[in-house]
């Protein structure tokens, strides 16, 4: 009895784990190996030791990209989290048209990336774009600029679009999390005479803490893996000023066919993410004693 009980978790794990090991962990391990080689994707990889990493730490594009990823993280763990949480709480009640609102905020996630990128570059269009037109109409001519063509604004302009997409995603996670909140607790705090803000601060927000942790972890991982929007809106340009690590890696891999170098960039990204994950896991271990 005791013996078979020990085996129970493994019976749950066996199928998913095999699939995961073959399709994900295997190729990942292979990528780690590739980071030590020179490979053009056609011939056999040639072992190079740490040469790719040495070159990486001399590459100015690497540091530009890293800096841009950090900007991305900082934006992502603040703005979409706050907006997504706000929306989830606002919409998790009987508001006329709530379904319409929720679907609206989710819709940016649904629209194909290529089309989102296209439409947004029209919004940012220096001459006829919506944003500059509005700025000029209200007399703020000096604020109008080539949002995607200037070194100083391009990264933020892309991050803004990313936030536009991310908010609906965070909202969905919080909406699911809110279902775990016992409404009796909220009622109780209302009976105690707490106003809406205090109810939120002292009852709802602490109860949502596990969701917030997940959202933050996901936001960090997503920021580090950011790729799609950069790739469709600027491909990292003008001259690498909007490059992020995943995009830098992609160009090295599929434009320059330096798969080994690209793998090295990915490995570095992996270790940066791993730092955050270890912090998270450590926290989880501290909190979760009971099974």
């Amino acid at each position: 009895m005791l013996h078979s009980k020990k085996l129970v978790p493994y019976t749950f794990l066996i199928v998913p784990l095999i699939l995961y090991l073959i399709w994900v962990i295997g190729p990942m391990a292979y990528t780690f190996y590739l980071s030590l080689t020179k490979w053009d994707g056609l011939s056999e990889p040639v072992f190079r030791g740490l040469a790719n990493f040495e070159r990486l730490f001399r590459d100015p594009i690497f540091f530009t990209s890293l800096k841009n990823n950090l900007r991305w993280i900082i934006s992502f763990i603040t703005i979409p989290v706050v907006l997504g949480l706000g929306l989830a709480i606002a919409l998790n009640r009987a508001i006329p048209g709530a379904k319409f609102f929720k679907a609206s905020f989710y819709s940016p996630l649904v629209l194909s990336l290529v089309v989102s990128g296209l439409i947004w570059s029209w919004m940012y269009h220096p001459a006829g774009g919506l944003i500059n037109s509005v700025l000029r109409a209200v007399g703020l001519d000096n604020l109008a600029r080539g949002w995607l063509s200037e070194e100083t604004t391009v990264m933020w302009a892309i991050i803004a679009v990313a936030i536009w997409r991310q908010v609906g995603y965070v909202m969905v996670l919080y909406l699911a999390g809110l279902q775990g909140v016992d409404p009796q607790l909220i009622d109780a705090s209302k009976v105690d005479g707490a106003n809406a803000w205090n109810t939120f601060r002292h009852v709802i927000f602490p109860l949502l803490a596990p969701v917030t942790v997940i959202v933050v972890v996901i936001s960090i991982i997503d920021s580090l893996r950011a790729f799609d929007l950069v790739s469709v809106m600027t491909r990292g340009g003008p001259y690498n000023s909007s490059s992020v690590l995943a995009n830098f890696m992609y160009i090295e891999a599929f434009n320059n066919y330096k798969m080994g170098y690209a793998a090295a960039i990915s490995v570095i990204l992996f270790f940066i993410s791993a730092v955050f994950i270890f912090i998270y896991l450590w926290r989880v271990t501290q909190d979760e004693l009971e099974y």
Binding site: K38, D40, G41, L42, S43, S121, Y124, H125, P126, A127, G146, W147, L148, S149, E151, T234, R235, G237, P238, Y239, N240, I251, F254, N255, N256, Y257, K258
Partner: protein, 455 residues
Amino acid sequence: MKRTLFTLLALFMVMSLVLTACGPTATPQIIEKTVEVTKEVVVTKEVEVTKEVEVEVEKLVDRRVVIYNSYASDPAPRAADEELVKMFEEAHPEISVQHSTVAHEDFKQAIRAYLTASTPPDVMTWFAGNRARFFIDKGLIMDISDVWENEGWNEDYPTGFQALSTVEGKQYFLPTSWYWWAVYYRKDIFEQYNLEEPQTWEEFLAVCETLQDNGIKPLTIGTKYRWTTAAWFDYLNMRVNGPEFHINLMLGKESYDDPRVLTVFTDYWAPLIENDYFIDDPAAYTWSEALQFMVDGSAAMYLMGDFLRDSYPADQVGQVDFFRFPIIDPSVPVGEDAPTDGFFVAAQSQHPEDAKAFLAFLGSVEAQQYNADVLGRLPTNMKVDTSNFTPGQQKGLELIQGADFVAQFYDRDTTPEMADKGMNGFMEFWANPSRINDILAQLELDRQEIFAEEQ
């Protein structure tokens, strides 16, 4: 609650099955999962579909197959491509061409998967010249000397195109279409200000000056995708330093910090930028978005390939004409960019004979005549009748025939990696012309590293 959700998912399954009753492949894996999650109704449906599919597959087996993957994803070439496949199938009813089109950019990424797959596409589109050479050297492209021999292409194709396809005496490639680059301009605007097509650099600058004085931007360009800047570099470098120097630079045999390269930037390119002859914020636009400034008349000229006319509004394209990029130094031989595309057979092709038959058709007079007539592109097969060519095509043909040297284009003539670094350099120069010395020094370091690795 749970039941409703699963019913819903089951509903989706059924929907998808109904939708796909005519499609291929149903997998045993799905059936297993379906059993676990949904009710039996769905399972029987699945079995029925599988049967239908099997019948369909059997029918297909009778015809031999050629798998053809193409990057001709622009609307007009794509339609012509599909038509050519149809023509071939009509002529060879025993062969079925499995034609797939992949977006041009994505194709460049996917080709390394295609070439190393156990079942690669048999026939693929690709760039002539260096980019094909790379795969030929790796043994990934099939020797098609027999097709060249049997079809008489050794006589029907100009020596220049033969050379593009030949490595060590064997032919591996079939060049089929090419187009020219030139400075396109608005005829009506030129007439309005009594301007002539400039032949020399001085005349060109005078034209720019006049347009500028009249409130019209002389030149439009969209550099969001950087290759448009490379056209300016190609032409300026070829006109100033000659095609031989240019191609050696592309091959890594000359250095980027050579004073001759510096002159191109400081004496010719920088003045155009500093005089504001180009539109504002070019980096915000793709090449076709920047075309808008030419259409609305706020800019007059555009250095571009002949595909410009495919994009121009159909009712106004009559206002557009083109001239040869102005001559800077008359003592220097004339080089032109004329990128050439074509086809090859994968070395691992599973259907080599039928693939070669398809290739033979693509290089035939019939197919090339069709492309020339429908797309206005230039044929490579000399037997194609050029007498019905439009004046535009005739002019383009003369432009290229009058050249001493024909280059492919910056990103085809040099390695992809060098092209990436180079075009970034051009972009940075555009934003900060004064940084050119540093930019070229960096490019030279990149060149040494990239071409050292090539060895």
